[in-house]
Amino acid sequence: MSGLGTLLYKEVLRFWKVSFQTIAAPVLTSLLYLLIFSHVLEAHVRVYENVGYVAFLVPGLVIMAVLQNAFANSSSSLIQSKVTGSLVFVLLTPITYGEFWLAYVLAAVLRGLAVGVAMLLATLPWGMPQMAEPGWILAFAALGGAVFGTLGVIAGIWADKYDQLAAFQNFLVLPLTFLSGVFYSIHSLPPFWQVLSHWNPVFYMIDGFRHGFFGISDVSPWLGIAVTGATFVALALLTLAMLRSGYKLRS
């Protein structure tokens, strides 16, 4: 196997071996959100014509779980191997920094998708989801996962301790994913927050992902995929520059 292939395989095996924590646990958390919010809001909120609140909520929770778990995968794997020192085994080999980045991002995407699929299966008791344009579902899940997987690489390299990583997660990743239209349509927001939401790339990921299910969305999925793609390219270039410079890894 190539260096890239091996590192990817190792990273996938790492979360797969503990799938109870890395897949089952986040699915359970998302199901709890679904139970609570659908119970409280079903009768009061209707975002789109012909789409019940539970049906509206499910894709939002799924993509949120995809993004959060993609971030968790690369960031926690990196900090763990930095703290234990075992990252040295990769750094000693001919693996290039580009391969290094790609392996961590692909593993993060696979973890995100695994959680997403498990989450969709777990919501089947609430009814078969409508999937109007499945291509968008896959595109936004994969590209959104790659954005957050890359963000996880940045955080995992930058953080020296677990609590720094937790801060990154609590003050950046959670607010970004929570406040981007998982639970509501931004059309229901006051004008100021609507404008602000358009500057949040995560809003486009969630909106575009939901478009794949209902065929309707707040903005065009083409605009959404362009914003998501641009975000990915920008973060990828930043990460590659970090890795190339040896920042925190090669002193």
Binding site: S2, G3, G5, Y9, T84, S86, F89, L92, P94, R250
Partner: protein, 301 residues
């Protein structure tokens, strides 16, 4: 033929600390080389620079003719490093760990060689054990195995015997000797002179980021005493002047260092002539740490 390792004017600074202060060193292919020095001398920093884990401020390093920056992929393929720290990934088995390490080097089918290393290091029955469940000594063996999966021509071991039991130490040396006999260049860092004495053809002594001595092990050891005579004189008498200059006192005993057992007779004859009665008498190995320190002081002067 290019050297296995070529180090030129290498400097590295950590803040105010000059960790490497201009290192020049060539190690020929097939050598068994010792890198000696007290803690903080810069041994690990130098090895890390060779492995690309540390970026130097000045100078250049090459492994088997490959510059470690410009041609890092070839340089890393040629180099196997056993790190000083006992690092491991707790979530995988020994076999998985070694397969991954092979894969990182782009080796597809490597199981025959992996099995051979496992057997040679006494790890065969631990192949399916998780790293977290192994003892320190076993983890150290896995570290050695990981450094060897890609059959590197140059193998660097950073204090591999620190905190390791005697049995492992001996089996490790037997194995490393075999690798050297098969043509691998071996670089070993240690602060046990004895280890260097038994294994290394040539040694460099490092102190405060500088090489203070570089010679064949035999030449270097000749520069200080290998044995010592420890004795107590009857009636608390003193040594004759000729001997007192080279002796030192230690808890009521006189300690006389000497190079070679042939000198012993002369020493005893001198005592007899001076009329010194011997109450207690003991011959032993020189205190290597002490000899080492004196050499270090000499190097610093």
């Amino acid at each position: 033929m290019f050297p296995a390792i070529r180090i030129r004017e290498v400097t590295k600074r950590y803040g105010a600390l000059q960790a490497l202060a201009g290192i020049d060193l060539d190690i020929a292919q097939g050598e068994f080389f010792g890198l000696l020095g007290p803690n903080g001398a810069g041994k690990t920093t130098l090895i890390s620079a060779l492995a690309g884990l540390v970026r130097v401020d000045g100078g250049s390093l090459a492994v088997m003719g490959h510059d470690v920056r410009q041609d890092y992929r070839a340089a890393r393929r040629a180099l196997g490093v056993v790190p000083q720290e006992l690092v491991y990934d707790p979530f995988f088995t020994v076999h998985e760990t070694l397969r991954f390490q092979s894969g990182y080097h782009g080796l597809r089918r490597n199981d025959a060689w992996i099995d051979e290393i496992l057997a040679a290091l006494g790890l065969a029955d631990k192949a399916d054990a998780y790293l977290r469940d192994l003892s320190g000594g076993m983890k150290r063996r896995v570290l050695v195995a990981q450094a060897l999966v890609h059959k590197p021509p140059v193998i660097v071991l950073d204090e591999p015997t620190a905190g390791v039991d005697v049995e492992l130490r001996l089996s490790l040396w037997a194995f490393v000797r075999r690798l050297n006999a098969e043509g691998h260049t071996i670089v070993l860092t240690t602060h046990y002179l004895e280890e260097a004495e038994n294994l290394c053809g040539r040694v460099a002594m490092l102190k405060a980021g500088r090489i203070v001595a570089l010679d064949t092990t035999a030449n270097l050891l000749r520069r200080f005493s290998l044995h010592r005579l420890r004795l107590r004189l009857a009636g608390g008498g003193s040594l004759p002047d000729a001997l007192r200059d080279r002796a030192r006192q230690e808890d009521g005993y006189w300690v006389l260092p000497y190079q070679d057992h042939g000198e012993l007779e002369g020493l005893l004859a001198a005592l007899r002539e001076a009329g010194c009665g011997i109450a207690e008498f003991e011959v032993g190995q020189a205190d290597l740490e002490g000899a080492f320190l004196s050499l270090m002081q000499e190097g610093a002067a």
